[in-house]
Each structure stands twice: as C-alpha cells, then as structure tokens.
C-alpha cells in the first residue's frame, strides 16, 4: 500500500500554488495522499487545500517553524512521515522543495529523486522519469528504499484543480529541534514586488536576452502587459544587469512551461533551453538566423528585435 505525504509550500500565510503540482503528481500516482502544512498560520491556510481530495490535511501551526529553514522543518516532516506510515514524501521542485527534500530523505534513510517529470505506478512498483544532462536525456529510475522522497516539476505537473469534498484537518506534533538549528538563522528576504504573474504559473512568458540591452523594460513590459505575461530573462541579460536575477529562466533560475514562450534576442544556450523547452508554443525573435533558439522554436522570426517587438505589441493591440 502506497501512501503519500505532500509537503505544502507556504508564502506569507498562504499555501503557494506550486503545491497544487505536487497534488497533481499524487493523483497520477493513484494512491491516497495527505497534505502537511507547516509554519505559523498554517491552521488557517490548511482550509485552502481541503478541497483536493486529500485523506487528511495535517497542520503544524507553530511559530518555531517560521521561514521554512531546512534544519527547522525537517524533523517535524520526518516525524510526521514516520508516525503516519507514509512511504512517498513529495515536494514541488521549487527552491524551497529542493532545499529541504534531501535533508528529509537523509533523516528517513530514504532515497531521493529530484525534478520528477513523470511517474508510473504498476501495482505498487513506482518508476520515475527525470531529466538529466540539462534535459538532453531522461532517466527512468526507481528508489530502492522503503520510504521514497521526490521533488516534482511544476512545469510538468500542471496545477491540480479542486475536486470538492472536505478533507479533515488534524494537528501534528512538532518534533524536537535538531542541534543544527542553533547554528543557522534567518536574516531577511528580498523579494521583487511585481504585479505580474509568477514565472511558474504564467500562461504566457515574454523573455529577453542580452541583445535587448538597456531597452529591457521599455521593450518587454508593454508586450507583457498586453498579454498578462510574466517577464523572463536569459543568464546573459541578468549578468549584464539588464534584468534582475529572479527573472532568470534556465538551469540557474526557474524551469517553466507556459502555453506561450516568446524569446526575444535570446540565442538559446543549453542552460537556458533546459529551463523552457517544455513550453507548449515557443516563439523566437532574433536577428541571427543560426541562433540555436530557432531549433526549439515553433515560430521563428529573423528580424531586428528593436523593430519587431514594438511592431508585435502594436499588432496585438489592434486585435485586443
């Protein structure tokens, strides 16, 4: 019997939408699942995930679990997994999930597979599919330990829809602190406030490369506004200071798979492709006809972006 425990990701007192991808994964596994919500305010936040068909929504509403530090949350997650007899522990492959998942695995003596893009459950024998070599190949693997820990890709498991019903909410015990907790402290978090959708959740992403230069905002923002899109960037654009690092898409940065990805002045280095090539429709605008980005683009436009992008914005305005 496989029983799955999903670790919800909290942000400012709410459950992050990335958690819905882990729920989608658990549904594909086709086994009962529960959701664990940790941190101050999790009792209230738990109500956000009671309509997804979980057996239970577990809460550890305790001030000591604030900020989601790996050393702090791991003992309670591991204790909950053990005492509840869960054999698959799931996080979303966000920076939060990837930070904590290996620690949970080590505490449980479990194997950990990251960035899962597919799963098969053949009468309890679970195999996972995960990208390797920056997505140039996929490995089919299984975890050999009784308890398994996985992180699942938000770009491959779309957000689960609620199914109705009302999962019971239960409190779980907060575990004793690890000694390591005394040697780590949260200092601050800097977030770029933006009215735009999150890169992981956006239906459309408008992304710029180094070729956009200082025109990054001036050129991309009107197009993004028109399409209610998130704005992304290549490493080169971030390194050159044209775009802020949290916009980076790729091996460093976010892995995304929107319905429409518009790559503007992006050459298409393998590290960038690793973060966006699962997008449904890819458009590339670049003046170099040999740029590697055209190899993954559904629609390529060889043009000077400084002319093509304002023209595209104007054209879409006409249709809006």
């Amino acid at each position: 019997m496989v029983n799955t425990l999903i670790i919800a990701e909290m942000h400012e007192g709410k459950v992050r939408k990335s958690t819905h991808s882990a729920i989608h994964f658990a549904r594909q596994l086709g086994v009962p699942f529960s959701i664990l919500v940790l941190g101050p305010g999790s009792k209230a936040a738990a109500a956000e995930v009671t309509g997804f068909g979980a057996q239970k929504v577990l809460v550890a509403d305790d001030a000591s679990l604030a900020n989601g530090l790996a050393e702090v949350v791991t003992p309670t997650i591991a204790q909950t997994a053990k005492s509840g007899g869960y054999d698959v522990v799931v996080v979303t492959a966000s920076s939060f999930g990837k930070d904590i998942a290996p620690r949970i695995a080590a505490k449980l003596g479990a194997g950990y597979a990251s960035d899962i893009s597919g799963v098969k459950n053949e009468s309890g024998k679970i195999t996972y599919r995960r990208p390797v070599f920056a997505g140039n190949a996929y490995g089919i693997c299984h975890i050999t330990t009784p308890i398994q820990v996985v992180s699942v890709r938000q770009s491959e498991f779309s957000a689960a829809e609620p199914t109705g019903g009302s999962s019971p909410i239960e409190s779980v015990q907060v575990a004793a602190q690890d000694p390591a907790v005394a040697r780590v402290s949260f200092v601050s978090m800097e977030t770029a406030k933006s009215e735009r959708p999150d890169l992981g959740e956006a239906r459309v992403i408008v992304a710029g490369g180094r070729a956009v230069k200082e025109q990054f905002s001036a050129l991309l923002d009107p197009l993004a506004n028109l399409l209610s899109a998130a704005v992304g960037a290549s490493r080169a654009a971030c390194d050159a200071g044209y775009a802020s690092p949290e916009l980076q898409v790729g091996q460093t940065g976010r892995v995304v798979a929107p319905q429409l990805y518009i790559a503007i002045g992006i050459s298409g280095a393998i590290q960038h492709l690793a973060g966006m090539k699962s997008s449904k429709t890819i458009v590339a605008i670049n003046k170099d006809p040999d740029a590697p980005i055209f190899q993954v683009a559904d629609y390529g436009l060889v043009a000077d972006l400084f002319q093509a992008v304002p023209e595209l914005t104007a054209e879409l305005k006409k249709h809006a």
């Binding site: 695995a105 505490k107 950990y112 975890i143 690890d178 780590v184 949290e246 890819i282 629609y299």
Partner: protein, 274 residues
Amino acid sequence: MKILVPLKRVADPDNANKVKVNAGKLETTGLEWKPNPFDEYAVETALRLTENGANPKARLGEVVVVTFGAKDTETTLRSALATGADRAIRVDSTDDKLDGDLVARALKALVEKEKPDLVLCGKQAVDGDSNQVAQLLAEYLGWPQATFAGTIKSEDDKSLLVGREVDGGTIHLRVTLPAVVSVDLRIVAPKSVKSKHTADSHAYPDGVRFAALMAIMAAKKKPLVEVKLADLTSDVALKIAYTSFELPPARKAGIKVKSVSELVEKLKSEAKVL
C-alpha cells in the same frame, strides 16, 4: 579557514558532442570531460575565502579538493590544484557504483577525518542534475546548510552571511561554522565573496580564475592521495537505480515566419495561444 570542496567530472555541456542514448543506455564515448561548472565556482569561492585578493599567491587557509572516480579523474583534481587548491583526495570508485546518497555518506566520513570548517559544493552536477549532495551531507553531519549561494560574506571565519538565490528573490541566512554551503553561478561575480583577508572594495575578475602554465607544472607536485571507498563507508548500496534512458520528446519542426503580422496570424489561428 579550512575548506573541503567536492568536485565531479562531467561531460562538457558546451561541447558539440552531446550525450547520446542508444537502446536505452547513455553513450559517453567521444565526450569531452571537464569539471562540473558549479564545482569550479565552489573552488573559486573557496580560494577567495582563503586569500587576500590583492595578493592571492600567499595562501591564508587550506582548500582540499576531493573527487570520486577512477585514476583518470585525477586530471580534474590537478586542474583545481593548478588554480590554487592546496591538496587533493581521490576516492577510488566509478560513477555507475555511486549515487548522491553514497557520495554524501562517504563525504561525511571524510569530513570527520579532515575536520574542515566549511564544505563548499556546486549546487548540482550538470550530468545527473540531482541537486542533493550538499543537503544530504549537512543532514548526515548535523550541520547547518545554505544552498544556492549567490553571495557569501565571512564574519571573521566564525560565521557566514549567505545570500541564497531562491524563487522570486534572495534569502539571507547566517550560518555558524562548521557548515555546508552550495553555490550558484553568481557566486563568481566580482564582489560576491567577501573574505576576512580581502578589502571589501576589492573586485575580482568576473568568473573563475585560469591556471598559469607555471602553476600547472607546480600542481603536479602538490599532494594527491587515493582513498578506498570501503575505508569511508562499508554500506555501498545505492538508493536510486536507473533502468533506462530515453531522448526527450522531439519537438515538431518549427517554421520561420516572414513578418510580425504572419506571426500573429499563426499564433491566433494555428497555435491558438492568443
């Protein structure tokens, strides 16, 4: 400060020869090898923390590099020694007999012997892309961790102030040493690492340093020892097993459009995404 840096040899991701899949198996013949880029950033970070940037030749700490592999992976260690690392250890094994968990357990034993103040890892190897050794090692040691570091400031080598690059921003953590830190690519920007030995105004060249020819020669004389995996851990069972590999689903061949209006037309009527 004494720093241990684990290094992995990977297929050069920028080489035209990419990994191939043949009958469900990965084919690695003909690939060019190089140190994992994120591990090279970890070596650069370790060097910056153990020198005065204005006079990098004088070593003010110790950087020990370690790799897991057969004899031929020693070139990876020698290249790190040539850029300034002080000493190297090769744990004799091969990639097919290792996974992240086994490497972390072996590293734990090595850390207990070497007693470094800090273990600096690349955030992931660009072959397996697993992103787990640093976190596993920290838990096995009972040490604090700071993953995906984009900035590190040493506070008198007693604690580190680390800027972690996370989704949507940066989290600043303070970890008291000994600790495990994994680095992301912006750690090698000119002012990302502040050591106790270097003036805050000092700016490094962007990226990792290259070895001078003299240094490459000198690196051949630096200590490099071999350790048996069995001397570090008796449990060599793997927790993750790969049964086969496959190529990513092929994307339907794209088309070139001639104009912006044709592009908009296709996106509307063909792709139906507008």
